[in-house]
Symmetry: none
Subunit: 210 residues, 4 copies
DNA sequence: CATGAATGAGTCTTCATTCAT
DNA sequence: AATGAATGAAGACTCATTCAT
């Protein structure tokens, strides 16, 4: 049972939003299983009875948080209007956004993965999230192939899954596991590897070593 | 409190091993948090009380299981004695083992990652696991660089982190999230991308598209 | 705290009546303990808060509903002005009304019995209800005894308790437990048994078998 | 989830029996809804965790108690080997046992009725209980009819439902609602009414008034 | 060593009731 | 009068862990 915001007074909307925000922070900090409904309530400054006015369970809250996160990732990773002309620069721009999107929500996406293990609806959300990123990557590659700038023999989808996974995974290693690099170096490196892997032709594929 | 096998009678050793095996299966199937001590005992065919003869807690059991898994991954991923001469073939051989190692234990490693979130010792184990794979990858690259076969400007460690992550992540996507490919194609693709990314020079870098 | 109708505006009276009616339906359908104040409010189309404008608690509402039911049963079971001359016909007429009265409120009277277990005031109401029916039955019998139409050795009160109980109980079995008969047969049978039991003398005591 | 006695050690059996007994007393005293699992545990002298070793819920416990009660009623109401020759005496003997059986368990049967409202399995148990008593009554009547001792036009089942209901209901009124009579008078009266109602012929149908 | 009964801390969840608007 | 957000007491249930046998 989830009570949607539209059905609420402004006070209700505020309380609900506070719970979602508190939940997001709590999940982020402690992990899904470790979060108690009461933790969330305390953080949001409401009694635990109030929680159940808006959500039927911790799972319902997480569903909401996860949906918000996925939505944000979609938004945040759209390459803006000023697309560079240079293909390599375009890859780099995409990777920067891509890396930031995953990095910003690394913990929560991991949680979503856990949750997806036992719940079909979470699994659906997760697959949807991946699919958007994969499709974008695949389309980018296909365009380059059509322009004769990338190896036409590569399967766009599989390539996108793999190289996209490289970025996503690096975001996790970087932030959650403490691999030490600065963003600039990371993006340069990811982009170099990506560009070379797809056989990007122009001279723009320069080294990006340490 | 963990009672080590060495201190036990053969009957005790058998019971203990049954618990570890049962725990491993249970964790694999249901995830860390969802596994009850009783589930493990039932699966192992012993009473609850017996569990505490050997392990102080569910966490202790998981520690043991995780250590076993990590050990197996180390062993399983060592490229055998018949190393091919061809650098690309070497990369491919390594990727095959690498992919299989991650795929075989994908779920448990994910669990270890969760556990690492809240527990330093699990974090240590996880970092150790990653470090071994990263170091191997980095050394392989360094060797190629020294032989003038790979781009010398690439930072070996960071490259290994990223490309290794690509393989590891693909194992997860492939097995846990149902991305549909056969192993042969996957390994060919991963190896192609890897080889190109590091600028492997010989003609051995052939296409591996769909 | 119960706010009586007299003290209310006509709008208030309407709201109050809606709550009583909704409560009656809810109690009937789901049983006392299973009814939530919110169910009643939803059914009455008012907010929870409003409930407490009129009633201090669910118990207060039930008290009101029970009183209404008891009142109706008193009214409904009064044998009308056209009393038949024939004693058997009179018994039959009374039994018909009696059966209908209990049948119409079977569930609510059962609830009242439950409530009476733990609350003196409900117990009082219940005893009052029974007493009215018992007294009526006893008086009927006494009149027949005085007229020499019924066995004078029967204790009127105890007989009324028992035979009245037979009717009341049958109403319950019939409606709540699904004993299958039609009303006509049931009334004929109850009346036959009743008439014979009190030794009603005239030839009017005809059979009423299947 | 109910753990059956057979699967338990003698200590377990004792604990389980204590819970059933405590539950029975608690239900009897306070009514189904008012009984807390903790009440039962306290009464049985065990922690509330222990309760769940044997029963999955309060409902499970009640199911067990109810089954025991129904079983006892079956046993207790069987007319012994020394059946009197006289039909009236037989009716009286049966009514005595019948009245005692209902009286001894009046409260619990009422509870079973409540429970039957919302749960099919309880409803089944209740109907089974009633059916046994109804069938016995009906068979007794049929035998008398065959012997030419009772009105052959009466439908045995319906008659048994009604007259049996009279006894059952009187047990309730007598014990739970405080109708004041002694057992001897009650049984005499019930038997007289019963005998006359079915048109028992012999002279043995003597008055039983106050 | 193995057993399984017992324990009780920890959580979730419900719902009657209050109260500011 | 009516609303509905907020409250928190009350209870159900789970499960890791202990311990007597």
């Amino acid at each position: 049972m989830i009570v949607k915001s539209e059905a609420l007074s402004s006070r209700g909307r505020r309380t609900r939003a506070a719970l979602v925000q508190a939940g997001r922070e709590a999940f982020e900090e402690r992990g899904y299983e470790a979060v108690r409904v009461d933790d969330v309530c305390a953080r949001a400054g409401v009694s635990h009875g109030t929680f159940y006015t808006y959500f039927g369970s911790r799972e319902d809250l997480f569903r909401e948080v996860a949906a918000a996160v996925v939505g944000e990732m979609f938004t945040a990773s759209v390459v803006g209007p000023t697309v560079p002309d240079d293909p390599y620069a375009r890859i780099e721009a995409a990777n920067l956004l891509y890396l930031r999107a995953w990095a910003a929500n690394s913990r929560l996406v991991r949680m979503l993965e856990q949750a997806a293990t036992g719940d079909e609806s979470f699994r659906g959300l997760l697959l949807e999230l991946r699919e958007v990123f994969v499709r974008r990557g695949a389309e980018g590659l296909r365009r380059l192939q059509e322009q004769g700038l990338a190896d036409p023999s590569l399967d766009p989808r599989l390539t996108a899954v793999m190289l996209g996974g490289m970025v996503e995974h690096f975001a996790h290693v970087w932030l959650d596991l403490g691999e030490r690099t600065d963003e600039r170096t990371a993006v340069a490196m990811l982009s170099t590897l990506w560009a070379r892997a797809i056989g990007l032709t122009p001279a723009s594929t320069k080294g990006a070593g340490s």
